[in-house]
């Protein structure tokens, strides 16, 4: 009997949270007028959220590209198909690894930072203080961070892919001796702007939306104590990562599923 009570309470709690998250999203979306009037707010957050995540994205992109170069070459060379290396690296990155890995890294670096920052502002009564100064914290604090994260991830994922392609070139061409012209021309012929690049971009836009939404909501909804904030930060990384991987499956099956 007790199990059902607990189960019911848990489900109701989860549903209530989902409802709050939805309403919160509407308020954030409506809060855009603040920084449309004062674009500096958005620029500031683009720096904090995007530029500070840049290094980890570039380094990770380079290494992922290099690993792809090795693995792709080793598999392809058995079939004498190492001329397709550029195509393999580029397709893997634009379709999957670019958007997904960039989103995962973004959730770990920028998402957790967003949650911790907003949660601490709540715990130290800064958000309440703003409310009492007749300043709406959602449009002043949350909305610029949300839009900045949303825009940043799409740009970061693109950079991840570009750096990854160069990483593949570094290993495949400069180290293992695939011809440079072959590497690039295979890519140019095989990668389709709509089918591959655009779908990858759509993925990173969806991931950016979801990851930043989770991050700012967890911060805003955190229990305003140090324990509550640390738990919210953990939840952001876990939920955002799972959401990215789950949504990637859904999006992939929608985009590339028709057989």
């Amino acid at each position: 009997m007790r199990v059902f009570v607990l189960l019911g309470r848990h489900s109701l709690g989860t549903l209530a949270r989902l409802g709050r998250a939805g309403l919160f999203l509407l308020q954030v979306l409506a809060g855009a007028w603040q920084f449309l009037r004062r674009p500096f707010l958005l620029v500031q957050q683009m720096y904090a959220v995007g530029v500070l995540t840049l290094l980890i994205i570039l380094v990770a992109g380079l290494f992922v590209g290099m690993v792809l170069g090795f693995q792709g070459y080793n598999t392809l060379v058995d079939f004498g198909a190492e001329s397709s290396l550029g195509l393999v690296v580029a397709l893997t990155l634009t379709r999957e690894l670019g958007p997904v890995l960039a989103a995962l890294l973004f959730a770990g670096r920028a998402g957790s930072a967003l949650t911790a920052e907003i949660g601490l502002m709540k715990a130290t009564q800064q958000l309440a203080g703003m409310e009492m100064m007749a300043v709406d914290p959602i449009s002043r604090v949350i909305a610029p961070r949300f839009y900045a994260g949303f825009v940043s991830l799409f740009l970061l994922a693109a950079l991840f892919t570009v750096v990854g392609v160069y990483g593949g070139h570094l290993v495949g061409v400069d180290l293992l001796g695939v011809d440079s012209g072959v590497y690039w021309s295979g890519m140019r012929e095989g990668v389709d702007v709509y089918e591959d690049v655009l779908n990858g971009v759509i993925k990173s836009i969806v991931f950016g939306f979801v990851v930043t939404w989770i991050a700012v909501f967890e911060g805003y909804d955190a229990v305003p104590t140090s324990e509550g904030v640390s738990r919210a930060t953990t939840r952001t990384v876990v939920h955002a990562s799972l959401a990215v991987l789950g949504l990637d499956f859904v999006l992939t099956s929608l985009m590339f599923g028709e057989v």
Binding site: Q125, G129, M130, M132, A134, V135
Partner: protein, 274 residues
């Protein structure tokens, strides 16, 4: 329907305020009148809803029953725009100061001015320096909140609270956790600012001697109700056991020393059960 009170002599009127937080009653029929131009202290043990009361005056909570009027406006019925307009005329000093951690002292005090006005930067500077001078921290304007002591942070927050020249300033536990010197400074500031700027002040606190030294009027809150009110001297001379216990800080009295539980003997002889 309760008749709205006359706003000419009372700035804040609280009538029959009831509020429960997750089925736990916090306020159970509070009536208070905050006169204009005076310093009113709201005292009581921790957890009796003193801070909650400030949240009602600031319109951050909605009452279950009863209502709150500020300057003739019924706060719980105000729409968002009107509520924000009212809040611009109120200042609130939070217990932690609630300074924005990514802005320095100057920008913190300038924050409400820049958010709500389009004054030229030179004028903002004059205004901010004036407010900082009032709390004695003009020289600290370039420090970050993390570099301030507790007392200084509270003074900066006070300068920020009066930046827009409010009619009402609410202090939430302004004396908690301060060293004696900082405490003396805050006590003096509350009284002086109230009189010099023609404010109305509400001080929520459980520090009896400090509150009694500056308040014109004291309300004593316990168990979600006002149990006594009057001039500080009158409360200190009260015979009511509850009032006496609180005003003199006696460990046992109507508020028992022991947390309610089974008798000690029964617990000792109760065997294995925890």
């Amino acid at each position: 329907m309760i008749e709205p009170p006359d706003p000419r002599d009372a700035l804040v009127e609280v009538r029959d305020l009831h509020f429960a937080y997750q089925a736990r009653p916090v306020l159970q029929g509070v009536d208070l009148t905050i006169p204009r131009g005076k310093v009113t202290a709201v005292m009581g043990p921790s957890g009796t809803g003193k801070t909650t009361l400030l949240n009602f005056i600031g319109g951050r909570l909605r009452p279950d029953r009863g209502s709150v009027w500020v300057d003739g406006l019924e706060v719980p019925r105000l729409r968002r725009r009107a509520l924000f307009a009212l809040r611009k005329r109120m200042g609130m000093l939070f217990q932690t100061g609630a300074l924005l951690t990514d802005l320095n002292v100057f920008d913190n005090v300038a924050f409400p001015v820049r958010e709500h006005t389009r004054l030229p930067e030179a004028l903002v500077r004059h205004l901010v320096l004036l407010k900082l001078e009032l709390v004695g921290l003009r020289g600290a304007r370039d420090l970050m909140p993390s570099e301030l002591s507790g007392g200084m942070a509270r003074r900066v927050a006070l300068a920020r609270a009066i930046a827009l020249d409010p009619m009402l300033v609410m202090y939430d536990e302004p004396f908690t956790g301060l060293d004696p010197i900082s405490m003396g400074v805050i006590v003096k500031l509350i009284r002086e600012l109230n009189d010099a700027l023609g404010l109305t002040s509400i001080v929520v606190t459980h520090d009896v001697p400090e509150a009694c030294s500056i308040a014109d009027h004291v309300y004593l809150l316990a168990d979600g109700r006002v149990i006594a009110s009057g001039r500080p001297a009158a409360l200190q001379a009260s015979d009511d056991p509850k009032v006496r216990q609180f005003m003199n800080g006696l460990p046992d009295g109507p508020v028992p020393y022991h947390y309610p539980g089974a008798p000690y003997e029964a617990d000792l002889l109760g065997g294995e059960a925890r």
